[in-house]
């Protein structure tokens, strides 16, 4: 039988693909399947509990696991910084795309937190957030004193403000309760989660997203802008009708990637800065998986949590794809 050139080429391609695919099978595909199998068992690294198939038991337990839902909410809360960071990136990119002098210097400076992000920066921010001796609160205190803010507030409203306790406080800007999924007005304020969000924005704003926007903006056809200007469109109208639609695919890409990253995030911050505290408010889903598997040794259960996370990410991505096919015509 005669084989076509394309079919013969499969052998050649297979040769080139072999190293990568082998690694992929051993370290990605295999583990994914294995993880699913493990999530159906009560497997424990310590061997204190006899191995048993529990089938969907872990998933049922997960549904009733209040900690999981709290940590899920924490994860979502920490993602609230993403839109801000993305908007910030866009603004920076718009500012930088004006052919100013020194754009390379600005770009380098803005990118600095992103390139150095990691344990060192988290340790740095932990020091910055120290409630009394950290420079952040020192500056707040100085401002309060210099401008006699508390005196004025006291005279006007009979209240006063104190600097936030940052990484030590369970408070948050939405007033989320610590113990159940819900709101509690007393929890309103600035706390550990907000501190992590602020740090996240500082790191991400001048990072990859800004570079992506910048690249898209350099390719923006000037004719479109000029045509709109000739029609008498103001700056805002040009942005709204020309630039923003043009950036839609980039925005879409950034949003999807941020979403996927955000759902998996929070591990390093929790491990390095807070240990998941105070009162579990900085525990995210990925840190919960780590804790369950490597501190409480419940590997089966941890696998179930990781699969739930996987499914959430999968669904979110699918929805995003659907949306993009409808809205983005590129």
């Amino acid at each position: 039988m005669k084989t076509t050139r394309r079919q013969r080429n499969v052998v050649i391609a297979a040769g080139f693909l072999l190293p990568n695919l082998l690694g992929f099978l051993v370290f990605t595909a295999g583990p994914v399947a294995f993880s699913l199998v493990m999530s159906l068992s009560n497997w424990n690294i310590q061997h204190t509990v006899p191995f048993q198939w529990t089938f969907l038991r872990n998933f049922v337990d997960l549904w009733h696991d209040q900690s999981f839902w709290l940590y899920f909410v924490n994860t979502i809360y920490l993602m609230l910084g993403l839109p801000l960071a993305i908007a910030g990136s866009l603004v920076l990119a718009l500012l930088l795309s004006q052919n100013l002098r020194g754009i390379t210097i600005y770009r380098t400076l803005f990118y600095l937190p992103s390139i150095t992000s990691g344990i060192a920066l988290m340790i740095l921010w932990k020091a910055l957030y120290n409630p009394d001796f950290g420079p952040i609160n020192a500056v707040i205190n100085w401002t309060l004193q210099t401008f006699h803010i508390n005196g004025i507030l006291h005279a006007l409203f009979g209240t006063s403000v104190t600097p936030p306790q940052w990484l030590l406080a369970t408070r948050n800007l939405l007033g989320l309760d610590v113990e159940k999924v819900g709101f509690l007005p007393a929890q309103w304020g600035l706390g550990a989660r907000d501190a992590i969000i602020i740090m996240g924005i500082w790191i991400a704003v001048g990072g990859n997203n800004m570079l992506l926007y910048l690249a898209a903006l350099t390719n923006l056809p000037q004719e479109l802008v000029e045509a709109a200007q000739l029609d008498g469109a103001g700056k805002w109208a040009v942005f709204k009708n020309v630039t923003w639609p043009y950036l839609a695919p980039t925005t879409f890409f950034i949003v999807v990637m941020s979403f996927i990253g955000g759902l998996q995030g929070g591990f390093e911050q929790a491990r390095v800065m807070t240990g998941g505290g105070p009162a579990g408010t900085t525990m995210t889903m990925s840190y919960y998986i780590y804790t369950k598997a490597f501190e409480e040794f419940q590997v089966g259960y941890a696998s179930a949590v990781s699969w739930v996370l996987f499914i959430i990410i999968f669904i979110v991505t699918l929805i995003n794809w659907r949306l993009s096919n409808k809205e983005v015509n590129y």
Partner: protein, 284 residues
């Protein structure tokens, strides 16, 4: 007509200057916000411990010996070596495996290629935490726990790298390898002699990305490394922080030393990095 032009010109000039001036002010302010934590870190690393918590920005007495103390208290040089060594191997292996796979996906025409590629790309979506636990048990079974190999091998296969290089190789004109294949060169020769040299910017970009990513890699080494002599910088920093956490000045000195190679690498390789980020984002 003429007057309008002049007025228009003046207006444009004014608007340009004014707006650019504003832009510069805003940009400078943002740059300052970005830089302040770094400045604090560098200055704190030269302070005496008692001075770290004080508001004065500059140390009253400079203590460069803080940096030496870090090396005395923890095997910092060893951490440096481990990080660079491991990230280096991962980079080399990733580039090789990715380039070969990218070649198969872009330059070899085989039946089922595009469908297979899409499937392959979909694996980019798998979150790392799903594979973390099984890979951990695999490493335990293979006795690669707590070894260089256990840190290097699992990290050396990247779907992202394949994707990035495929994007690059797609842009190389097909006439080149056709000519070579008429001359009788086999696929390996074409790959090694023609395509690989032509995708140099792509490979360099991938190399920088991979190196940066693995230099700062945290989660996997955290669960893999049990011995002190294998600790990488992030793990070493974490232990330094938990054990000697009260010596903020020394911690900051260690942090400065941790990020300096990154800054240098970035300044050198900016052009490639920016290109690569943009290329990686284009949908395939």
């Amino acid at each position: 007509m003429g007057t309008t032009n002049t007025r228009r010109g003046f207006r444009t000039w004014w608007v340009r200057t004014g707006r650019f001036g504003m832009s510069h002010v805003i940009l400078a302010l943002i740059a300052l916000t970005t830089l302040t934590p770094f400045l604090w870190m560098v200055l704190a690393s030269f302070k005496a411990l008692t001075e770290v918590e004080q508001l004065n920005p500059f140390p009253s007495v400079w203590h460069p010996e803080n940096y030496i103390k870090v090396f005395q208290q923890i095997p910092f040089a060893r951490y440096y070596f481990n990080s660079v060594f491991i990230a280096g191997w991962v980079t080399i292996l990733t580039c090789i495996t990715s380039a070969m796979a990218a070649y198969a996906f872009s330059r070899v025409d085989w039946s089922g290629r595009d469908g297979f590629f899409k499937l392959y790309l979909a694996t980019l979506m798998i979150p790392g935490v799903v594979t973390m636990i099984p890979n951990y048990t695999l490493m335990v079974k293979l006795h690669l726990m707590d070894s260089y190999l256990g840190l290097i091998v699992p990290a050396s296969f990247s779907a992202f790298g394949t994707f990035l290089l495929r994007q690059f190789m797609m842009t190389i004109p097909p006439a080149l390898d056709e000519a070579a294949s008429i001359d009788g060169a086999n696929s390996w020769r074409i790959f090694w002699d023609i395509i690989l040299p032509m995708s140099r910017p792509g490979v360099v970009t991938l190399a920088i990305f991979t190196f940066l990513g693995n230099y700062g890699s945290f989660t996997w080494p955290l669960i893999m490394i049990k011995s002190q002599h294998l600790r990488t910088l992030p793990i070493g920093m974490l232990f330094f922080d938990t054990i000697y956490g009260r010596q903020t000045n020394l911690i900051m000195a260690a942090s400065v030393m941790n990020i300096i190679p990154l800054v240098i690498l970035f300044v050198i390789s900016q052009k490639f990095l920016v290109k690569g980020i943009q290329l990686g984002a284009v949908k395939g």
